[in-house]
């Protein structure tokens, strides 16, 4: 499905450039966006490497397990199969907490580490497991207490009350996350996408 979206966007863009007579824009954009992609990757590489190192230390020190235990009441409901997998539950909890607090730079490295941990217990390596689906829907729901960058931009643009949006954002993202998790749960339960390949 991501395949289809990518192809659609690519084709549409080239056709639009042709239709509007902005053909030179294509090569220019390819040049600028590829170099910014590499710049971005290098920045991300540092963050991922650092947090992977710290997480490895945390795991051996037993911190991951402690964090997993404190979040267990919520996450055993969402991830019944992971009750005994403290590493995975700990990583899920930390990613969730980082997103909640608006720490985007930390959330991505943690999220990717979580994906690797969940992939270890995925029976079909090429397909998203139920746990991976639930984890990603939880992330895509975007539940957030403190959207730090947004508040900063509002303040910089001269807002009289930059933080007034916090309550509504928490409410809306809560509804979004709840609906996402509900649909995800139903699809998994009803096995719509489940045994397609067997």
């Amino acid at each position: 499905m991501i395949n289809a979206v990518w192809l659609f966007l690519f084709l549409l863009s080239i056709l639009a450039a042709i239709a509007t007579g902005k053909i030179t824009v294509i090569t220019e954009t390819i040049f600028t966006s590829t170099s910014s992609a590499i710049e971005f990757s290098i920045g991300l590489a540092g963050a991922i490497a650092f947090w992977s190192g710290i997480l490895k230390v945390a795991e051996q020190a037993g911190i991951t397990e402690t964090i997993a235990k404190s979040f267990q009441p919520i996450f055993t409901l969402l991830f019944p199969k992971l009750t005994n997998n403290k590493t995975a539950l700990g990583l899920i909890s930390m990613t969730f907490a980082a997103n909640l607090l608006g720490l985007g730079n930390v959330a991505t490295p943690l999220g990717i580490k979580t994906m690797e941990e969940l992939q270890k217990i995925n029976p079909h390596k090429n397909r998203a497991s139920n746990e991976i689906c639930t984890f990603l829907v939880l992330t895509l729901g975007g539940l957030c207490i403190l959207p730090t960058t947004l508040i900063a931009i509002r303040a910089k643009s001269g807002s009289a009350n930059p933080t007034i949006i916090l309550g509504p954002i928490l409410l809306i993202t809560f509804v979004g996350t709840a609906i996402g998790l509900l649909i995800n749960y139903l699809i998994i339960k009803l096995r719509f996408w489940h045994q397609r390949k067997e």
């Binding site: 991501i2 990518w6 966007l9 690519f10 549409l12 080239i14 239709a19 902005k22 600028t32 966006s33 590829t34 992609a37 590499i38 990757s41 991300l44 991922i48 992977s52 190192g53 710290i54 230390v57 051996q60 020190a61 911190i63 907490a97 607090l101 720490l103 991505t108 999220g111 990717i112 580490k113 994906m115 690797e116 992939q119 397909r127 998203a128 689906c133 990603l136 829907v137 895509l140 729901g141 975007g142 403190l146 959207p147 947004l150 931009i153 643009s157 807002s159 009289a160 009350n161 949006i165 509504p168 993202t173 509804v175 979004g176 609906i179 996402g180 649909i183 995800n184 699809i187 719509f192």
Partner: protein
């Protein structure tokens, strides 16, 4: 309430690091060696991620500069008239699932043009703050572990996106009255 959240957000990382270091010291773990080993694994992961990031950046760049985004907004014009929705907000709603930095730029532009506390500014804030970069998150997270079959994830992600967008359109103008 708010200041305590901000405090938690500020203090969480330093305190977490402190706890990890103290715990590893008391358990006599070779912190430096374990850290380097983990960081090495992390670097390998990023190397695998780069092609996915590249693919998305190029397509989103083209989507914006080629006029395809404007074209989509133009196609949806009847819908805009029907709901009395500003075209800028639709642009933002279409952009946010693709790229966080691009939509942040658009939000900032909207703020300078209409003011962050106007009905439009409030709605833009909510769209920016609530919706996730669905397409980016899915391709990078799944790409990191080489999963090709994303099952229902894109569908659920887009439903979340639409729900959040509609709620933002309803609640945003109400906030401007405060």
């Amino acid at each position: 309430m708010l200041s305590s959240f901000i405090a938690i957000s500020k203090w969480s990382i330093p305190i977490l690091l402190l706890l990890i270091l103290i715990a590893s010291y008391s358990k006599k773990i070779k912190v430096y060696e374990v850290f380097v080993q983990g960081a090495m694994e992390g670097l390998k992961t990023t190397f695998k991620l780069t092609p996915y990031i590249l693919a998305i950046f190029v397509v989103i760049g083209l989507f914006r500069t080629s006029g395809a985004l404007d074209f989509l907004v133009y196609l949806l014009r009847p819908l805009l008239k029907l709901t009395n929705l500003a075209p800028e907000l639709l642009t933002l709603g279409l952009l946010k699932p693709l790229s966080g930095s691009a939509s942040l730029g658009t939000t900032a532009e909207l703020f300078t043009k209409y003011g962050p506390d106007s009905a439009l500014g409030m709605t833009a804030s909510l769209i920016q703050g609530c919706s996730e970069t669905t397409f980016y998150v899915l391709s990078v997270y799944l790409g990191a572990v080489n999963i090709a079959d994303s099952r229902h994830l894109l569908l659920v992600g887009l439903i979340c996106e639409i729900v959040v967008f509609i709620l933002a359109l309803i609640i945003g103008p109400l906030l401007a009255g405060f």
